[in-house]
């Protein structure tokens, strides 16, 4: 029997708009009940997670590879990369199916990497003054966080991630 399996379909293409007056757009998402954000400019697309083929011997945090627009993309569990709880309980064998999570296709250096996140939130428009530098914040943020923003008054904080620190 042939199961009808859908590959990750683009839920939406992100429009890139030029910065307006120092304002940068960040895409917010949730990983292990914390909010994070990456510059929209480097996020190619958000896709539903499709078939993942695990890669034996891959570095920790690598969930596997997936075919995306004809290319082989390495998919990374952002939760475990950040040292948080993993977004997925990895089955012992076979292609992993993750029905509700999202994969962010992010351009890092020459490669496009897929980052598995629990949920995509929204796009924040932040000016530099909205972002608190990570060095001035306490020690409880990891190396991969460059700054912290509070987009809504009294709302939840969003940690801005350093894309370079995300490579497995």
């Amino acid at each position: 029997m042939k199961a009808l399996v859908r590959r990750g379909r683009a839920t939406r293409q992100i429009e890139r708009r030029p910065d307006e007056g120092g304002v940068t757009e960040y895409l917010g998402f949730r990983v292990a009940s914390s909010n994070y954000a990456l510059p929209v400019a480097i996020v190619r697309e958000i896709v539903r997670s499709g078939h993942l083929t695990p890669v034996p011997r891959a570095p920790a945090g690598v969930l596997g590879i997936s075919s995306f627009r004809g290319r082989v993309i390495t998919v990374i569990d952002l939760g475990s990369r950040l040292g948080l709880a993993s977004s997925v309980v990895q089955p012992t064998a076979g292609p992993i199916k993750i029905p509700k999570l999202r994969i962010l296709m992010v351009d890092i250096g020459q490669e496009t990497l897929g980052y598995l996140v629990d949920e995509v939130l929204q796009v924040y428009r932040l000016a530099p003054r909205d972002i608190e530098r990570a060095t001035t914040v306490g020690t409880d943020v990891g190396m991969h966080v460059t700054g912290i923003a509070r987009p809504q008054e009294g709302g939840e904080v969003v940690q801005i991630l350093d894309p370079k620190a995300l490579v497995p």
């Binding site: 078939h51 083929t53 570095p59 290319r71 082989v72 993309i73 390495t74 064998a93 076979g94 250096g109």
Partner: protein, 725 residues
């Protein structure tokens, strides 16, 4: 991409092409130099290429390149004009200049500092070796209308003189050309003249021409006699006059009396011309020609006109488009996406079909679907073909390197290249370049012995290196063979022991083949001192890895005193390979069929243990077994195949074989293999991934590297298992 970057890319790719052409021409020049004086056409081509390069570099603002090409151009101009001699040393300098230009280009590309020292040294040499020529002007030797001499360029005058010195006859042709076809006619004339001479110049006479035609005076050098030339050029019409050499007949006709010379009205029979010549004793043509003309007068009178079609092809311009390989990749991906859409459509159709009563509509859909499939396949095939390039370009580069290396190492050898027309995927050619260069250097540096030692060993003084390529089924074989000293397996073993690459206890049981294969281990170099030539950072281990990445296999054979032969087997295209799909603990793997010898069923009772590892007997010989589940540490999956029946896939790594144990054989499949992302570069054992259908990726095993890994772990285990002995 910004305009600037685009411009840079265009400059780089065009410059690269020019360098390729330059390299080719220099090799040709080298060859022509061995048989006689340099072919002026090649010198000119080189001059023109350098000139174009200079212009390009200037336009792009690549100052170092334009500086170098400027000096190189001046040098070539001097050679072209006969002001400088084209000695082997000068040729070497030219080779080096092209090499440095390439380096400058690479530096430009990578935004690095150019190799200034090399450049300075080269510039000095280029400027330093000019030698003025003291040859007398040709006008004093030749009986030629001074008005023509006045308009000859320095280059033309030089060519004229060179031809006279070489003993060629000089002819003056006066021909009417139709303005409509003049370009084609001149090309035709050049093509005809080329085999036995050269056209030095053509000048409009400015006489007796109609509105749509032009009369040209053509000055031509040829080995042919006037009569032979008349036969050849008969179809042109017009007159041919031989220009006498004054030095040979000092007292003969002065310049003002050209009618003294034999004149052929082209189109009249050669015999008539010969008779005309006989009537004027003491003038040309000389006696032997007359004899010949008399011997076969019938034939000469019925010379067919030159084959127009044949000559027309000489000037047929190839129509090519340069395409970035990444664009082709994108196209290929788009086609793969199309195939995916198509299969979704098919599934949808199958679902709707039973509910539909429109039988004609269904039939039409089926027909359309088949057409679609065919076109899709044609498209895929088309893209693959576009990616194919002949190995020739790479081989030419290798020839250049070989020449240079040979000179530096003072080794004498002939390089015999066959199969340069063999086509492989462009990407493979690129990736193959470094490994082959390295192997070539090795062959010259370590393979071919110095002449004295060759003679002492009773071998020909000059060595031979053969570079052969040929297609074999879906594969391309590239062989590099030398008749040098061969690999000293004793020495290899000694070094391997020193470096701990092999366990002393295993030495006696290690076969000769295994020892030879040790040269592919990292860190093994049998030369005490890495030579300037071969010590360039890449060892044979890198060669092997690079080739494995292409899905290829390298094998070595060597006999001491006889020579060494490397054979590289490669898939023709990276894009599509045939694989055997197998399952292990629920994971799907693809094994390139190129590496599969056979697959047999395994019953666990056949397995026995040798030296701490599993093996079985297959066709009378022992086959080392390895379980993929333990190599990859795969946990027992819930969905894993439960049967106790397993299979052994006998894979080849060079000439060695190993049996990989899998749970299930799914079948053979043609797949598009893709590289894993650079984030997974450190993961060994996989050559890439392939879409196995239904958008599931399967990992493609890199069997040669798995084999090595297994052998290496056996060695390590051997050390542990036998501490006392």
């Amino acid at each position: 991409m910004s305009e600037g970057e685009k411009g840079k890319l265009e400059f780089l790719s065009e410059a690269e092409e020019i360098i390729e052409a330059l390299g080719r021409d220099l090799v040709l020049l080298d060859e022509s130099l061995r048989v006689g004086p340099p072919d002026p056409d090649i010198v000119n081509d080189i001059f023109r290429s350098v000139h174009t390069m200079k212009g390009l570099a200037g336009l792009f603002g690549a100052t170092t390149i334009s500086q170098l090409t400027h000096d190189l151009e001046a040098k070539l101009d001097a050679i072209r004009l006969g002001r400088a001699q084209l000695t082997p040393d000068v040729l070497d300098l030219l080779f080096r200049a092209v090499d440095v230009t390439h380096r400058l280009l690479v530096a430009e590309q990578e935004g690095k500092e150019p190799p200034v020292e090399q450049l300075e040294a080269l510039l000095q040499k280029l400027r330093g070796t000019k030698r003025p020529s003291a040859a007398a002007p040709a006008s004093e030797e030749l009986d030629l209308d001074p008005s023509i001499f006045a308009v000859l360029t320095e280059y033309e005058e030089h060519r004229l003189r060179t031809n006279v010195e070489a003993g060629l006859r000089i002819y003056r042709l006066r021909v009417q050309f139709s303005l409509l076809t003049i370009d084609a006619s001149l090309e035709q004339l050049k093509a005809m003249a080329k085999p036995h001479g050269e056209i030095i110049t053509y000048l409009p006479t400015g006489e007796g021409t109609g509105a749509d035609s032009i009369e040209l005076d053509i000055l031509m050098a040829s080995k042919k006699t006037l009569i032979e030339l008349g036969e050849l050029l008969g179809s042109l019409g017009g007159t041919i006059i031989e220009v006498a050499k004054r030095s040979k007949r000092p007292a003969a006709s002065p310049t003002s009396e050209p009618p003294e010379l034999p004149v052929i009205e082209a189109g009249t029979s050669a015999r008539a011309a010969a008779e005309a010549a006989i009537e004027r004793p003491g003038t040309r043509p000389p006696a032997p020609v007359r004899k010949e003309a008399e011997r076969r007068p019938q034939r000469t009178s019925s010379v067919p006109p030159p084959d127009e079609g044949k000559i027309a092809t000489v000037r047929s311009v190839t129509q090519t488009v340069r395409v970035d390989i990444q664009k082709l990749d994108r196209l290929m991906n788009a086609v793969s996406e199309l195939a995916i859409v198509k299969s979704s459509l098919d599934r949808l159709f199958e679902r709707i079909r039973p509910a539909s009563s429109d039988r004609r509509g269904i039939a039409e859909l089926v027909r359309l679907s088949r057409t679609f499939d065919r076109q899709l396949e044609a498209m895929q095939q088309g893209i693959l073909e576009v990616r194919m390039v002949p190995l020739g370009q790479l081989f030419e580069r290798l020839t250049r390197v070989a020449r240079q290396v040979g000179r530096n190492a003072k080794k004498q050898f002939n390089l015999v290249v066959t199969g340069a027309e063999t086509e492989v995927d462009k990407l493979i050619v690129e990736e193959l370049s470094d490994p082959l260069m390295h192997m070539m250097r090795n062959a010259i540096d370590h393979g071919i012995e110095p002449a004295m030692r060759r003679l002492a060993a009773g071998k020909p003084e000059v060595g031979t290196i053969a570079l052969n390529a040929f297609q074999k089924g879906n594969h391309v074989l590239i062989e590099l063979e030398d008749d040098g000293g061969g690999i000293d397996t004793e020495r290899v073993l000694e070094v391997a022991l020193q470096k701990g690459l092999i366990n002393p206890a295993d030495v006696r049981s290690t076969s000769r083949r295994d020892v030879l294969n040790l040269i592919f281990m990292p860190g093994l170099s049998t030369r005490a001192q890495a030579g300037e030539i071969s010590g360039r950072g890449v060892g044979m281990d890198v060669v092997k890895t690079n080739i494995a990445k292409l899905g290829g296999v390298i094998d070595v054979q060597s006999e001491v005193g006889i020579g060494t032969k490397f054979a590289i087997t490669l898939p023709i295209t990276l894009a599509i390979i045939r694989v055997l799909v197998a399952e292990v603990e629920g994971h799907t793997f693809a094994i390139p069929l190129a590496n599969v010898r056979e697959a047999v069923q395994l019953s666990e009772s056949d397995v026995f243990t040798v030296d701490g590892h599993e093996a079985m007997t297959l066709r009378g010989s022992t086959l080392r077994l390895a379980r993929l589940s333990s190599i990859f540490e795969l946990e027992r999956g819930k969905r894993a195949h439960r049967s106790t029946k397993k299979f052994v896939v006998v894979t080849m790594a060079g000439s060695a074989r190993i049996g990989l144990i899998v749970d299930l054989l799914v079948g053979g499949q043609d797949v598009v293999m893709k590289a894993l992302g650079s984030s997974l570069r450190s993961v060994r054992g996989f050559a890439g991934a392939a879409d196995l259908g239904e958008e599931r990726l399967g990992l493609v095993l890199d069997t040669p590297s798995l084999y090595e890994e297994i052998v290496a772990s056996d060695r390590r285990r051997g050390t542990v298992a036998r501490p006392n002995g």
